[in-house]
Symmetry: D2
Subunit: 381 residues, 4 copies
């Protein structure tokens, strides 16, 4: 597919998936880790303006000089910006203005692509497309949080249904050996996947499917949330402090566990994979099963032996640089490297991930207490 | 004016003053003391539904059973409710639905008023009208805060211009004596104004006008914000902690003080009364002038000797019950009494106050650190 | 008594009342409102050094130049100082060094008193004595908190036993009238008692004794802590947030209420006055009794009709300046005036008050949520 | 050496190294990560009582039934306990009583060792000795913090002098290969060192000495603390929030950098290794040098090619379980495993480490923001 086609498809998709929203849904930020949909729409657009148009188009005229300040996320090299907790307070620009901003940038990028751009510029544009795809996934996490924390639990149309797990799980055996880890080939990847290198693994058996709601319910009913021996010390403190007794969006109504999803509020389906658990909960569940989570290297080696893509999968690997990691120059060097501390790697992809955005070597990462992302559990024994 | 006319005028006015807003402006809460405009519109409506229609109309059908939970403010007797800091997170109901709610209640109250309602019910309805007028004033404080804390300082159409102070201030002498304080007569008043009683005052001189921006600027330039001897200990801590060096909405741009108002961002007008100061700042200013703030009793006794109504005026009186204070029965007893601690009394009215809502005996009150309300300073010597 | 005798008696008393302490008890600060005993011993000493010796003795040699920084409390005019929450972290100087500091200052003041000091200097010295007496009372609050919050509830020898209340309370009637309020005569008083002035009071009846533990237990058992209608909004929030269900130092052990005092841990005595209640609790109790707390003016007028001195008594008066209040010049002007906001007046005295430190016009003050001081409840109807 | 000799030497050493303390120094906790010396003395004693005497001696009589509650650290399986932030508030038991407690346990363990104890019991006793040695090192961190944060910077006698670095650093080359990692042999080790396994390493060069104060000063003077490109995002936030511009205990006095150590306050010695840096600072320094920190595996493989033991050395490895990690049964299973999240591994030993407590495979760990431990920097290129 041409870069232009990729660009257009990606850009149009964001407009499309926002259609079920009311204007009011676009601007709120109910938690510091959530960004308002309007912000996502504008920030992904600013990324193209800042890193492509301003850099590679001479005499480029910015749409609105305030927007660099309003819609920069965390690029210190690109100047000061609205503090993260204040993203939900900007009632202006309006949603309509943001869509006008998108249209303007789409048009400018279209013109730019017809101007025989340099390979360097095309690389940045490709990164911008991948970046927007990541934000489309974050959008789904965020709108679920925005709507799922309102007393009325509104539903919106979406396309995120999870497949049920198979009735019988099996474990795949991977023999001891020296394996190659990291991206190879000419396709797109992030800098954190590069530096293909060898890792020695001991023999292990990995489950061919995710843990189900039904299995997780057994953990709850067996007192898993009340048995400190299953938990990391910080995980135990975390669930005490936040009074956590079930995955996020689970509510017990007259003895029956219900779950909020964008489809609305309904009793849990025991055959669906459990989602919205923190690393702490994933770890404690594995302890209870007397199994463990895979490392990210085990996962990568075994990934062609099972299907994935329903939910991101917590690994027991910290997010750290590969040998010979080197970050991209300039502001885009802030994309990955500076987050390589205090986070855990998740592998795979989720139903909210754009189809072509998924690969074996992809390293997603979140803090171990985060639960709003679409994450589940795969076990190793 | 008939009760029906008062009701209609008040209700229509709120719709009218909201017309300059964008849909996005209705739903945010940038500080815990701010409520979103949508919430004000719905809460004042719920007040009529809860305390008039549900109580006095048999078989009344509520507009939406969720709204009692969503739009109760602080009436414990009326059940549980959305926590105050979460008022800005409710993207639903939409603004349009809230206007439909208003229309429904307007119609129901209209029918009710034609049904020969009891005197008791009319009293509550009258309170509901006064209540909505108070929220219309709060709406102005809140929308100023919502827009005035955005990086782009948007302006909206409004009708709040302050009159300049007179070139020469004079002081009015009030002799020592025993004075009557509190409301009398048959007009509407709140329970906190009742219990007319005698207070002995010593002789004092009170200024016939408010402190101006120009005078306050002298205080700033004389180092008033950096001289701890002028401040209460808690006021001093407060301005240190929040790095306060000027009234709220003042910004120094290249050496020139500017002020945000709903008219937009502009250099301060030295002849206008200073506004958006806390009690702490009002007190420190008076100390610097070697004068003092009036007590609420001095203010009430002297009020017919000067004009007021531009800004609420800080007094040096704590908000406490009058002798023989008794609160209204039931949920409406929560209207005033339970706030009689840790707050200071303000007297007068502001340009944001509905015209007929102002009287000599009115006791407004805010915590001493609050600055977003339309408050100014009058001196006594 | 001569000033010298007053000085010596006061200074010796502090050493005496500290004798039951272990060295370890002198240095901890378990809450921000508590000061370590060592700090009290040194701070009261520094007060004499700073405001008497440094000022009035030429070529005075300070004991240790660091101590001004270590032991200043809140006198901005006397320079910077250790932050209040860090008072418990100074393991040095040792307790022994602090006693050496006291001995040095006692000797220097003794010499100074023999040098025919000016009347002005004697006034400050007298204030220093009163100041130390206040800190001796605070010492009792603080050591009770230090020991009463340890898991082992240590007891120490003391002289603070409360008298039981009389079996039958009576109410004293005070007629309506214009009364004089404030200190008169030549005896010592603080600046906040001056400005004797007239106050008009309506008729009231005031109880001749304090509320007992038994009466307060009835309030608890009647659900007083769970009935929001009895509480100020901020009081209700306060007891929710801190899970308060009884006075400070009360613990329910197998259904029986116990109380920690410096005598140790024991079942409550129903005939003793209830103590360690906040203003919020005092107010809620009065509401429940359908009575009220006195104002500080009512208390002062009625005080010669009942006995007091067991516990400080919460009034429903905010701590505000009397008419014509003027604070002392210089650093000592920081003694009272800058605290006249957000605090409530208590009248009377407690068993921890030095005998000659008590008078009808004394205005003590604490924030309404404070409970560690020796405060009780007297009712008015 | 016999187990009895090891026990006695270790126990006596703690008493010895505490001799320079004043009684007041034993009981304070100036930060949540600091424990009072008294607590260390009692907690290490309780460990022997709880896990050896109570378990293996029939009819053992505990010294004081309260102490299990007072001096348990984090063993949930051993019952409830004083909350960590409150360790500094226990003025009782006195220091003297704690020494009596130590003497009692020493005597009881002596008797127990003469009773032909089981191998299992001896293993736990050995762990108790190692545990006490760890706390003796923590004691040094804590007393440095306790004294080094007082305005008067008291010094105490100690034996912790660092050796200067060599004038010329050299880099040791380690070739690519498959290496064995983890403890082997029969000597003592912790459970987290077990599971000896293979790790594939690429070629690297590691410095034979630590970074010096002089080198770190160059980093400061080159603006290292103000260049966000050198820092992790969370590291950058951390130094902003805490206004960190130098290692802990560094103070700039009239342009000259000074450092507090237990020897007192003195200008920094440029030839000594830099210490008291967080992982964030170590990482940023390495970035600035265009080098990196070693992984814990690189460190372990290279350790016999350089000398270590001055300071713990930050690695860029997260603290995670080795393959086949299994924690000890019962309460002692809480020793290591539950901390394997959000912490970084440090290797080596420090001048505060007991001599025989150091080995190549030892895995120490701290959160990346911790600076009070004796930690330095070794570089890899």
């Amino acid at each position: 597919m041409t870069l232009e086609a990729q660009f257009q498809i990606t850009r149009n998709r964001f407009v499309e998936i926002c259609k079920p929203l009311a204007t009011e849904d676009y601007s709120v930020q109910p938690a510091i880790f959530v960004s308002p949909p309007k912000w996502h729409l504008a920030h992904t657009t600013w990324f193209f303006e800042q890193f492509v148009l301003c850099k590679y188009v001479s005499n480029y005229k910015v749409f609105n000089a305030d927007f660099a300040y309003l819609f920069n996320s965390y690029y210190n090299n690109a100047g000061s910006r609205v503090l993260r907790p204040n993203r939900g307070l900007m009632t202006r620009p309006s949603v309509q203005e943001v869509y006008q901003y998108r249209a303007y940038i789409d048009e400018q990028i279209g013109l730019f692509l017809k101007s025989n751009p340099s390979e360097e510029a095309c690389k940045v544009l490709e990164l911008g497309i991948q970046h927007e795809q990541q934000h489309q996934e974050l959008f789904y996490y965020d709108i679920t949080y925005i709507l799922g924390n309102q007393p009325t639990f509104p539903a919106i149309q979406n396309n995120l249904e999870l497949k049920p797990v198979q009735p019988a799980a099996t474990f795949v055996n991977i023999p001891e050996g020296l394996y190659k880890i990291g991206h190879e080939g000419t396709g797109f990847c992030y800098d954190n996947e590069l530096g293909r290198h060898q890792v020695f693994l001991e023999e292990f058996d990995i489950c061919n499917q995710l843990v189900s709601n039904g299995e997780f319910l057994q953990f709850i009913e067996a007192g898993g949330y009340n048995n400190f021996n299953l938990w990391h010390a910080e995980g135990w403190d975390y669930i005490q402090q936040h009074a956590i007794q079930a995955p996020m969006y689970w509510h017990q109504i007259e003895g029956v566990w219900h779950q909020y999803t964008l489809d609305g509020f309904a009793p849990i389906d025991k055959n669906k994979p459990v989602m919205h658990v923190s690393f702490y909960e994933a770890f404690a569940f594995a302890e209870w099963k007397q199994m463990r989570l895979p490392t990210e290297f085990e996962w990568e080696v075994a990934a062609n032996k099972f299907s994935y893509g329903q939910l991101w999968e917590w690994t027991n690997s910290a997010y750290l640089p590969y040998p010979n990691f080197s970050k991209a120059p300039g502001a885009l060097g802030e994309y990955n490297g500076k987050f390589m501390i205090n986070q855990m790697v998740l592998r795979g992809a989720s139903v909210a991930t754009v189809a072509n955005h998924s690969r074996n070597t992809y390293r997603n990462f979140f803090h171990p207490d985060m639960r709003w992302q679409f994450a589940g559990i795969r076990l190793v024994k």
